[in-house]
């Protein structure tokens, strides 16, 4: 879309605000009565005015302007009792209230929306919201409730592979997802090479995933946004919750700092496989480290009626290896300080200071023989967001974001005996910035429009070196930049649009469009997330990745919102996609950019979803038919080829059945087309070895993947004072040997023969978890 015409439309729409009548504003905060946590996205509607309403923001704040008069205001959040309040609006008034969870636990929903028909009424296609609370009864891997694994069961979201916590969204790459924890980007959201995500289910309130039609406040990745929020902490009373599982144990303490004014939450998790290894008589096991831990901290405090401060932090580390021989440690640390300020009943502001750090250290040998490598990615980030509740028709959001990135690709230190030179790779610096504005416009009670514009930019900063390469990837020129000297600059407009037309109370059509730029890129030797994945910044060689997506969906609910169904189709066009030349070396390579090739991508598909929200049996069935392809002049003679994540068919079935108030049975079935991979199409002998001969990139398929998981949750005790439950999970119930790798190797019996060797990781993985709360 032409930028000028877009700006003109924005101006026209904003000028359509009505100024005629005397209006007053109703505003306030909505919370959960049981624990004082904010209820983000709770809906507020007015009985007398059809189509007038507002959704609370992520902090539970709402504001609604109406002409003077008497109204009945309805506050609702699914799974909570509805409150109706009669008000006489003749001045600006503030009403903050608490909703209590509804008692009919048999009607508990699996993936909650905030309002029963939100699927139809909200202007959000391509968006999935999941509460941690609602996924506790689903089957787990190793007993850990993992919000990312549940996201992977949604149409259009695919797991990176067996047990992996990486994910592909609508044909995009693993690095094209912006993963935020309380607004802080998490660069490697995985533990133990991806089998667990860093998000401890006990500390997480919920997550929202934007597969498309992202709001302009988000940017920096081309595929999706996964916005994860930590719990605020119980503002009413102290509580302790925890669990003992097969892999890890957890403990969470939360409570008020001052009742109803502030609260805190501390949550920790640690695995203990190494404790069992320590019992072993074999020193090679007892000296080994194999654990990870997570620590989440959060506190919030209301300083005044108008100001609220939140501080949250996350620390997690994986420690893997053997004392003195070999070790690999990696982890994330994030910190967010937020300040909510209500300027007046119409203008809400949030200012965030965010810090994010990811590092890994890898070492080999001891003392003089030691070689170790350390790498760090560090972000310092300031984000300012304003919400201006202009009228019942318009809510304007605007703000800016500035991130200072530091990447230390690798600092190598080596002992004297190794003969290796210690060397620090050149650090890279850059600033990523963005300005945005959007208008949520209720055009009529049937038609709503959410449109906006984001301008994002990237400025590389010295000290730094730019390399110029020839076609062979050899350096033909270098340019040095001094400290603070500006290097490459990139910038561009990112128009965003989502529109919803409500056909009737049961159905609607939604349209979404977004353009995104991405300035940081992850390069990986492997397809599962590895701690040593390398992030690079845009530079003279690496142009920002670009994506444009258009999506169209039809949503229909049946039987009084018991069944939600949707069909969504999308087309995504990607530019400046990155891949490798054959033989590229990713590891510690300062001239890596010379080994990269740049091309295009396209992804398109159609997603079907049926969800049942009420009754003893709840759950969803999703089917995605999709393609994802890439094209590079240097690969496959310039022809389009399937991206690895080109899984044509993808089926997910999740079901939860409440046998009785104490027993819940749940199941999860997954099926998808095998990944596109490169296999040899011939062989030859060289240097006395059989060598595979490759003819095309990703011209073959892994075997199709399918798996069934089951879980049984048994509530032992449930009183006001104490709750306890058991969860029994079985991953891969029928023991399907899904191929993790297929290698082409000489046969062990006869080295002149070659064979295909498949490795499957998990046949059955049972787990038992005991959870308690008091």
């Amino acid at each position: 879309m032409n930028i000028n015409s877009f700006l003109t439309i924005i101006l026209l729409l904003i000028s359509s605000f009505s100024f005629g009548q005397t209006k007053y504003t109703l505003s306030g905060q909505i919370k959960d009565a049981s624990n004082g946590e904010d209820l983000p996205f709770a809906t507020i509607t007015v009985k007398e005015q059809k189509g007038v309403g507002v959704t609370a923001n992520t902090y539970g704040y709402y504001s609604l302007s109406l002409p003077a008069g008497n109204y009945t205001v309805i506050y609702q959040y699914i799974g909570y009792n509805v409150i109706e309040k009669s008000i006489e609006l003749n001045q600006n008034i503030s009403i903050s209230l608490e909703l209590s969870p509804s008692a009919q636990s048999l009607e508990e929903v699996v993936v909650t929306a905030e309002r029963e028909d939100r699927n139809i009424t909200s202007n959000e296609g391509s968006v999935t919201k999941i509460d941690t609370k609602s996924i506790r009864e689903l089957p787990t891997f190793g007993g850990e409730v993992d919000i990312i694994k549940v996201m992977q069961t949604q149409p259009g979201v695919k797991s990176s592979g067996e047990g992996g916590s990486g994910f592909y969204v609508r044909g995009g790459g693993l690095d094209q997802n912006l993963v935020l924890l309380d607004e802080a980007p998490v660069y490697n959201p995985s533990h133990l090479l991806g089998f667990f995500s860093v998000f401890n289910g006990d500390a997480i309130k919920g997550a929202t995933m934007y597969k498309g039609g992202m709001m302009p406040e988000y940017g920096g990745r081309t595929s999706s946004v996964l916005d994860i929020r930590m719990k605020d902490g119980n503002a009413k009373e102290y509580s302790v919750a925890g669990g003992i599982g097969t892999i890890a144990s957890r403990l969470t303490v939360e409570g008020p700092i001052v009742k109803d004014k502030g609260s805190f939450m501390i949550s920790g998790r640690r695995t203990y496989a190494d404790i069992f290894l320590g019992l072993s008589n074999d020193p090679s096991f007892s000296n080994s480290n194999l654990y990870f831990y997570d620590l989440n901290l959060k506190a919030n405090y209301r300083i005044s009626e108008k100001d609220r401060i939140f501080i949250s932090g996350y620390f997690g580390q994986d420690k893997l290896g053997m004392d003195g021989s070999v070790n690999m440690d990696y982890g994330n640390a994030t910190g967010t300080m937020r300040w909510n300020h209500v300027f007046n009943s119409k203008l809400f502001s949030n200012t965030s200071f965010i810090y994010s750090n990811y590092n890994y250290e890898f070492g080999f040998g001891e003392d003089e023989d030691q070689i170790s490598l350390e790498s760090v990615i560090k972000d310092i980030n300031i984000k300012q967001d304003f919400s201006y509740y202009a009228s019942t028709k318009h809510t304007i959001k605007f703000g800016f974001n500035a991130i200072h990135h530091t990447i230390e690709p690798g600092n190598l230190s080596a002992g004297a005996n190794t003969g290796v030179n210690s060397k620090d790779s050149e650090k890279k610096y850059g600033i990523e910035g963005a300005l945005y504005i959007q208008d949520e416009f209720k055009v009529s009670d049937r038609f709503s429009l959410n449109y906006g514009l984001r301008y994002s930019l990237f400025q590389g900063i010295g000290t730094g070196t730019e390399y110029e390469y020839n076609d062979k990837g050899e350096v033909v020129g270098t340019k040095k930049y001094d400290n603070g000297e500006p290097m490459q600059y990139f910038g561009g407009f990112e128009p965003r649009l989502s529109a919803n037309y409500i056909i009737n109370t049961k159905s609607s059509i939604k349209l979404g469009y977004n353009k995104n730029y991405q300035y940081l890129h992850m390069l990986s030797n492997s397809t599962s997330s590895s701690p040593t994945d390398t992030w690079i910044m845009s530079s003279n060689n690496v142009k920002p990745q670009e994506a444009e997506q258009i999506s169209l969906g039809y949503f229909r609910n049946f039987k009084e919102n018991t069944f939600e169904t949707s069909v969504e189709a999308y087309y995504k066009d990607m530019r400046n996609v990155i891949d490798y030349k054959t033989g590229a070396n990713v590891f510690l390579n300062e001239q890596l950019e010379g080994d990269l090739v740049y091309g295009k991508g396209r992804a398109y598909g159609i997603e079907f979803m049926i969800k049942k929200n009420k009754g003893r049996l709840t759950g969803w069935l999703g089917y995605t038919l999709a393609r994802s392809e890439k094209q590079f002049d240097e690969i496959n003679n310039g022809q389009w080829f399937a991206a690895r994540q080109d899984r044509i068919h993808d089926i997910n079935l999740v079901a939860v059945y409440k046998i009785n108030p104490k027993l819940t049975l749940s199941g999860n079935f997954v099926y998808y087309t095998g990944d596109a991979v490169t296999f040899p199409s011939g062989r030859y002998e060289v240097d006395g070895k059989v060598v595979p001969y490759y003819t095309e990139r990703n011209g073959y398929r892994m075997p199709d993947y399918h798996r069934l998981d089951l879980a049984l949750t048994w509530i032992r005790k449930k009183t006001d004072k104490f709750e306890s439950s058991w969860n029994f999970s079985l991953y891969n119930v029928y023991g399907r040997e899904n191929a993790y790798t297929i290698s082409f190797v000489p046969s062990e019996e006869d080295p002149n023969k070659t064979e295909a060797l498949q490795v499957a990781l998990f046949k059955w993985v049972p787990s038992v978890t005991y959870n308690f709360k008091f």
Partner: protein, 270 residues
């Protein structure tokens, strides 16, 4: 990179006790046969051998088709010699290869011409060879490990390959392929190992430190990624599976390399 893969393997093995392996049937396409030329020139007076063959279907376990009707010409120092065919895809001729000389090889098969060049470099000497007993952990075995030290010339980039014989037998599995450069240790006295290979007492280990040019290094280094990696898996050695980077023109497979080497020998435990 190998060591990173190794540690990932340690962790995977330790963690995934339930992993299971099996041989499966995979339906592979049969590519049009392609020419493969392998030629190694050794420093000094030696028989120079060129082997020419064609690729075969991957699971076809019969010997690959040999090419005996090629014209093979070696050109160096304004001289051109024809290397005659000696049967079974082999072409041989005694050549006295000298250092600091560029050699050019031209192969003419079925009206297609393939060219490659390589330079014979000078010898890099092995300073010491020694073995140490080391305790193992995880998949790393306990036993004697052999190390070699040499002095890397500091003024230029250098590229090496290490090969070895055990009790007179040439070791040539994919784990024995050791190639390295001096990017991290230019001008130093680096210590290199024979990978994670362990030896027993009284084994006689003969080591050759081959010094060759960058094109040869690129070939063997990319070959190492390919044969060490796996087809569809996440732990593959190469970022992008493909054919090794050959110095042959016209998309022939294989390589033409000049080796200058120094040898050293050790009897383990003595």
């Amino acid at each position: 990179m190998k060591s990173i893969q190794f540690i990932l393997a340690v962790i995977t093995v330790a963690f995934l006790v339930t992993a299971c392996e099996k041989v499966i049937d995979v339906d592979l396409k049969d590519a049009t046969p392609k020419i493969v030329i392998e030629a190694v020139l050794m420093e000094g007076e030696n028989v120079f051998e060129v082997n020419i063959s064609k690729t075969a279907p991957y699971f076809d376990n019969s010997p690959s088709e040999k090419i005996d009707n090629a014209e093979v010409t070696l050109t160096y120092l304004d001289r051109s010699v024809t290397i005659p065919n000696t049967g079974n895809g082999s072409y041989t001729l005694p050549i006295n290869a000298i250092i600091n000389t560029e050699y050019h090889l031209e192969v003419n098969v079925e009206d297609e011409v393939y060219n490659a060049s390589t330079t014979m470099l000078d010898k890099v000497l092995i300073d010491t060879i020694y073995s140490e007993y080391e305790e193992g952990f995880g998949p790393r075995e306990s036993g004697y490990y052999v190390y070699v030290k040499y002095t890397d010339p500091g003024d230029v980039e250098n590229f090496y390959r290490l090969t070895h014989d055990v009790n007179g037998e040439y070791q040539n599995t994919e784990d024995d392929l050791r190639v390295f450069n001096d990017v991290r240790n230019n001008g130093n006295q680096p210590r290199v190992s024979l990978g994670f290979k362990v030896f027993e007492e009284d084994d006689v280990v003969d080591v050759k430190l081959i010094h060759f040019d960058e094109a040869s290094y690129d070939y063997f280094s990319s070959l190492n990624d390919i044969i060490g990696g796996s087809g569809g898996g996440p732990s593959g050695g190469a970022a992008a599976p493909g054919n090794p980077l050959s110095n042959w023109s016209n998309n022939a497979l294989g390589y033409f390399s000049a080796y200058n080497y120094d040898s050293a020998s050790i009897i383990i435990g003595q």
